[in-house]
């Protein structure tokens, strides 16, 4: 039998049910793998004692023939989710020393269903970034390398720790969050599956806020089925988040094997962006072929306002962030750098506590909300948002069931390659994913092939509101058609 951490989440679940191994053994395998993989810097906090204690409790329940849908399954938690009694930093200095007395609703749902917590995963500071290079606690290194190269590669971001840990078998699955692509882009960069569900599907309660109208939690896992199982536990209405929607959570796992026969898949022509690498175009075409071969109808569609999405996103998201991050003022928790008066204390604390990218976005957000600029920026961006939403509504009204696009404009890049460049170049990573957040729709990214250098490439499927099921069904078709892909060779242990 291969190492237990090699199993998919579904396999591990079934193995535990069959008592082929214990939750303790499964957890120990992950704890050991994590200890050997510190070079990846995926975990900010490891909680092995807690993990083993939770595993023992799971074993007791399993022995008694009890246990929830995730009983005994070890997971990693993005350090944007507040976890009771375990430090939560959002990868920022400003939350240094902060340990919540409460548990985020999403992680609480996972523990309710029997999951085991391995620790807290690294991310871009406050989830702002596309390469996990903005973390105050160091870059996350992707387990992937280019063929014949030792150069460190980014895992993507902001959920870089989640994606790297899943790809490197340091957990069976992980929580992540997605404001402009932070689940789907790192999933694509690491050959994993990530779904950002419909806005309102998961509770935001207890997740450190970046941009409230765009933030949504979702899982990263190694298969479409695993991601469906995890989302089933994470999702659900929460009266403590009034933007969460009171709608039943369907059996996502059952949807995985539904197939795509009779579905219409839209191919938006506006996503054929200038300078798109031929490999990406070929991957996209291949994905459409696979879906067609499985019985779907492929139709070219138009989403005319696509090119406005990225600039509008970089107004809305920083605007909300500038306000959401005002609470980190050194008064009540986290970092405080003293000053001669209250204003200098604020300035000293925030200057020392926030990194460059976070400061940049706070400045942009403050600017676009300022008197005299609000109408020109924020109001117009909101209008564009409505137009983007309408584009999708029109496509769906015309019979499209889901939309296929590339997940990213390229494969993962090297550490440092873009970090020092114009920030806009980094922002362009989100060009295929931000529209989905702006429209509040569900989007899934799954691996579909490797580029010439051996790095994974992903495709994205965008669905109707609250129709994640179709995404799992179509995602499964792509996953099966793509076949068994290469996986990162272990160089870190």
């Amino acid at each position: 039998m291969s190492a237990l951490n090699e199993l998919t989440l579904a396999e591990a679940r079934d193995g535990l049910k069959a008592r082929s191994f214990s939750a303790r053994e499964l957890t120990q395998a992950h704890v050991d793998a994590i200890a050997e993989a510190r070079a990846l810097n995926a975990y900010l906090v490891e909680t092995p004692e807690r993990a083993l204690a939770m595993a023992d409790a799971s074993d007791a329940r399993l022995a008694a023939g009890e246990g929830g849908p995730l009983e005994g399954l070890p997971l990693g938690i993005k350090d944007l989710f507040c976890t009771e009694g375990v430090a939560t930093t959002a990868a920022s200095r400003i939350l240094e020393g902060f340990t919540p007395h409460y548990e985020s609703r999403v992680s609480e749902n996972l523990w309710r269903d029997g999951a085991v917590m391995l620790g807290k995963l690294n991310l871009d500071e406050f989830a702002m970034g596309s390469s996990n290079e903005t973390s105050a606690y160091g870059d996350v290194i992707s387990p992937w390398r280019r063929n014949g190269s030792d150069a460190a590669i980014v895992p993507g971001g902001s959920s870089g720790g989640s994606a790297a840990a899943v790809a490197a078998r340091l957990c069976l699955g992980a929580t992540a969050t997605d404001t402009g692509g932070s689940i789907r882009q790192p999933a694509a960069f690491t050959g994993t599956v990530g779904i950002k569900p419909t806005y309102g599907r998961c509770s935001r309660w207890g997740i450190v806020a970046f941009a409230s109208s765009l933030d949504q939690a979702g899982p990263i896992a190694r298969t479409v089925r695993d991601s469906a199982i995890l989302l089933g536990s994470m999702a659900g209405h929460d009266p403590r988040d009034t933007t969460s929607v009171d709608i039943a959570v369907p059996d996502f796992e059952a949807a995985v094997s539904r197939g795509v026969k009779g579905l219409t898949i839209g191919i938006p022509r506006e996503y054929r962006v200038e300078g798109m690498p031929a490999e990406i175009q070929a991957l996209w075409d291949r994905g459409a072929e696979w879906l067609k071969a499985a019985g779907a109808t492929i139709r070219e569609i138009s989403l005319p306002h696509t090119k406005l999405a990225l600039p509008a996103y970089y107004i809305v998201a920083p605007a909300e962030a500038s306000s959401n991050l005002a609470r980190y003022d050194g008064v009540r928790y986290g970092l405080r750098v003293p000053g001669k008066d209250i204003v200098s204390m604020y300035e000293n604390t925030r200057a020392a506590g926030f990194g460059r990218e976070v400061k940049r976005r706070i400045m942009i957000g403050t600017y676009v909300l300022s008197a005299g600029y609000y109408d020109a920026y924020y109001v117009r961006a909101q209008k564009i948002r409505t137009l983007i939403k309408r584009d999708f509504e029109t496509a769906y009204a015309e019979g499209v069931d889901a939309i296929l696009t590339p997940a990213t404009p390229s494969a993962a890049f090297g550490i440092g390659e873009k970090a020092s460049a114009d920030p806009v170049e980094m922002y362009l990573n989100d060009v295929f994913t931000v529209t989905v957040n702006m429209a509040g729709l569900p989007g899934i990214a799954m691996p579909a092939g490797l580029d010439a250098q051996g790095l994974p490439l992903g495709l994205q499927l965008i669905g109707r509101p609250f129709d994640e099921e179709t995404l799992f069904a179509a995602g499964q078709v792509i996953e099966e058609a793509a076949g068994v892909l290469a996986r990162p060779k272990v160089w870190w242990a």
Partner: protein
Amino acid sequence: MTAPVNPKKLIKGGLHDWEVVIGMEIHAQVTSRSKLFSGAATAFGAEPNAHVSLVDAAMPGMLPVINEECVAQAVRTGLGLKARINLRSVFDRKNYFYPDLPQGYQISQYKDPIVGEGEVLVDLPEGESITVGIERLHLEQDAGKSLHDQSPTQSFVDLNRSGVALMEIVSRPDLRSSEEARAYVTKLRTILRYLGTCDGDMEKGNLRADVNVSVRRPGEPLGTRCEIKNVNSIRFIGQAIETEARRQIAILEDGGRIGQETRLFDPGKGETRSMRSKEEAHDYRYFPDPDLLPLEFDQAFVDGLAAGLPELPDAKKARFVSDFGLSPYDAGVLVAERASADYYEAVAKGRDGKLAANWVINELFGRLNKEGKGIEETPVSAAQLGAIVDLIVEGTISGKIAKDLFEIVWSEGGDPRAVVEERGMKQVTDTGAIEAAVDAIIAGNPDKVAQAKEKPTLLGWFVGQTMKATGGKANPAAVNALLKAKLGIE
């Protein structure tokens, strides 16, 4: 505003007459068990930071959830102000940094408030009344409190108030004197207390006013206004307006200009002083709070609340005038507090309304005022006072005895009728007994009897003597009649 200028309201400057123009923003704390967006309690006087939820302290990842009771209270208030209720309103964030503002923004309503235009009818002394326009009412969070006296080097923050629901009620600039402004706040407070939507307790800071003051020559366009922040008593509101208007007039008559600014009133020094100028004003960067969906409810919700509203002071006053024959002034005094009006109605029910009003206003209110007590603390119940009124009307006791009886009931309690029996306070209506007393006095004072024929006003002296002889219990009407007959006075 096109209202005619009332010369009586003008302020005399050194050179000209000036008209003062006042608009007010009243912050009224909503009466509710918990805060606007959290489950923490709103009770006053707890230990610092005893009523603070994770939301109030703005812990990471916390989200606001609207308290429906606060929404209902705002709608009730809107209905009480005869205002338009907006079935859809939006919560916005008002961004600024201050240690008592944990989120770094106040959740308020900016462009789309829950209540739109309404009006308040304000009675002034001398029977005059004015209608003050209400521009809007919106819901917002209160801030916490900074404590600067706990340590020589640091300030502390008490977040008990943080997140408590406030209604900001914005008037039009329809007020033309400090007296009108005071009357407006008094009336607004009365309405809020009737509705039960704000206790109006200014000492606890549950009702505070920002007062916008400008002056102009009559007939000219509005002058530049200054806002006086956070005035916390009706008396200070009057003083602040007077002080500020005179300051502005002095500047203008000196050839100066008024700069738009925010000022504070110092009641100790009797002056307003600058807090910040327009240039220093915050840019609050308002935008819709993305954590909250627009607040929406249907007309049925509003209608349900409207059906449950109590009778409001204007309607009650009109009813007291028409049903009990009271003067508008007396009716106004009685309806100023709902508890007073209820008390009066209990006394007046089935009795002479005017007599009841006299006793409630003159005797009861007079006595309560003297002791600094509110109607809720009255030792004389409406039933007891009603019984006293009954005893007068029946002729069992005289008005004078009734006042003694009131004093006894006030300090010792008891059933007034029983007290009258026990203490022999009953009015003597037995003519025989009165006649004996009268005869004795006439017999003992022949000279006065002789004078009385010339000078009928001496009757009063005889009445006094008779009352004295009967211990005040003789029926005054009977005494009068007998004396007139026996002295031969017409």
